[in-house]
């Protein structure tokens, strides 16, 4: 325990790194995933195929492999990132977007087809109908699964520190444990607690948003 208290400043900065990395990846993944979902329900077969291929490829690849590809694979084709932090955000975004896509797509499918038809009869384009009619109604049903994805994303981000030299919460654990072998359990417990500081309130927030949006139907 003492080891953690002695290193509170490092823990705090690791916490901020984890949070920053997760928030950035969540924003990018949500946008990218929603675009991919729009592809998957689009009337154009090539776009549908593109969306489906992306999901199949990414969803079936282990996250660690995605990290390896982004950090060691892409530089081989001259795509490089300023630092590991940025690269980690890219890897997490690419990976999580595939799951966001599937969540949003099932949300879209939960909106009755009559809604899209009515939108079409009024003269809305596919994009307008998605933006103004379908997605706002899909929103409520995707809040809980998106919340789950967010929590998974926060925990997945540990790979960045554990394996790829990003100074996040996870990276702190092995170095502290090496220096204070007697306190190893307390150290790992404290590290887990630091993640929960993000994930537990997130779960509560999702519940609140879900209730707030309940009037939609």
């Amino acid at each position: 325990m003492q080891a953690l208290l002695d290193n509170l400043d490092r823990l705090w900065s690791g916490f901020l790194t984890t949070l920053g990395m997760s928030v950035a990846a969540a924003v990018i993944a949500t946008i990218l995933g929603t675009i991919l979902a729009a592809f998957r329900v689009s009337p154009l077969p090539p776009l549908r195929a593109l969306g489906a291929t992306y999901v199949q490829l990414v969803r079936n690849t282990p996250l660690t492999a995605v990290f390896f590809i982004v950090i060691f694979g892409l530089p081989a084709v001259d795509v490089t990132f300023q630092n590991f932090f940025i690269a980690a955000i890219v890897a997490l975004s690419v990976y999580t977007a595939a799951f966001v896509c599937e969540v949003v797509r099932s949300g879209i499918n939960s909106v009755s087809t009559g809604q899209a038809e009515a939108a079409r009869a009024i003269g809305l384009t596919f994009g307008q109908s998605l933006r103004d009619v379908v997605l706002p109604q899909a929103f409520r049903s995707v809040v809980p699964p998106l919340g789950n994805l967010w929590i998974a994303l926060v925990k997945n981000s540990a790979i960045a520190g554990g394996g790829f030299a990003v100074a996040d919460i996870a990276q702190l654990a092995p170095s502290l444990a090496r220096d204070n072998p007697a306190q190893v359990l307390a150290i790992f417990g404290g590290i887990a607690l630091a993640y929960m500081v993000i994930t537990v309130p997130s779960g509560i927030a999702v519940g609140v948003i879900e209730r707030r949006t309940a009037i939609l139907r």
Partner: protein, 365 residues
Amino acid sequence: MAAIKLDGLTKVYPGGVRAVDDLTLTIPDGEFFALLGPSGCGKTTLLRTIAGLEEATSGSVRIGDRDVTHLPPGKRELAMVFQDYALFPHMTVVDNISYPLKIKGLAKDDRLGRAVKAGDELSLDGLMQRRPAELSGGQQQRVALARAIATHPQVFLFDEPLSNLDARLRLEARTFLKRLQRDLGVTTVFVTHDQAEALAMADRMAVMDAGRIRQVGTAREVFQRPASTFVANFIGSTPMNLLSGVVRGQAVNVSGQIVQLPGDARQHVTDGQDVVVGVRPEYLSLSQSAADGALRGVVAIVENLGTASLVTLESDGFTVAATVADGEEPAIGTDAWALPIPGRTLVYRREDGELVDAPVVAAVA
């Protein structure tokens, strides 16, 4: 305002179902036209093809002087009211009504003005800030109508808009819709499988079967002179009596009993031809004494229709039903005679169920 012209319109679904089959039809400007027919006959498909929600496989759709066959729904200047209304649940009533106008590019003030006016016309004034989930079925239906009329369309398309309402509300909505259409003078196609609704509201109607139109005409024409046994069976609150028989001289022999051939029907049939005699229960007069040319039977069932009763006679080889005023029902088990009112008997060919001939409608109307 505009007429609708369909020419050889065909819709074949990917699975191979010919839901609309080579259909040619003109609906004049301002007409209230009902599409009637059994479930699965293609009414909804026809409406959706006119609307542009389904692409025609072949043939054309014209609205006014424009060929709209290849235009998207939003460019056809029509408004569709769906069976389940398809209101947008996440928008208030006023937004539901004005949103289509926004898409059409109207300025904000214009949109609001039109939405409020349409809302007023349909007595929605107090409800404009509610969401659809906070409205009754009848109110939701009025919002759907307001959304349709606010766009000032050339054509209204209604797909069973009354079927979600309870019986009383449906009657009210019927009258209301009819008056609204009359006031606005918008050409209207109205799908229903309730024939009473069609008879009550429509200027003209079409009876469809398997993607084809079996008969087009005014309600009166279709009711009095169904062009085929199919239409005869379908139209009327009590089904028409359809009696199989064989032509013998000036009459038809129906299982040993004789029905006179009407008017000039004789020249359209040959002696010994198989025919079906059609006569509505309303056009049979029932008596308890033998009458010339009447069908004799034993009273088997008496059904109360409210202001009249439907009496079913059983005879060797057929049954025949006639309506009588209430209080004049014969006793069950007694003999009775059903005499066709002159000029109201129809004769169909048995082979294809089509009319061979019938008295001129104008003479009896």
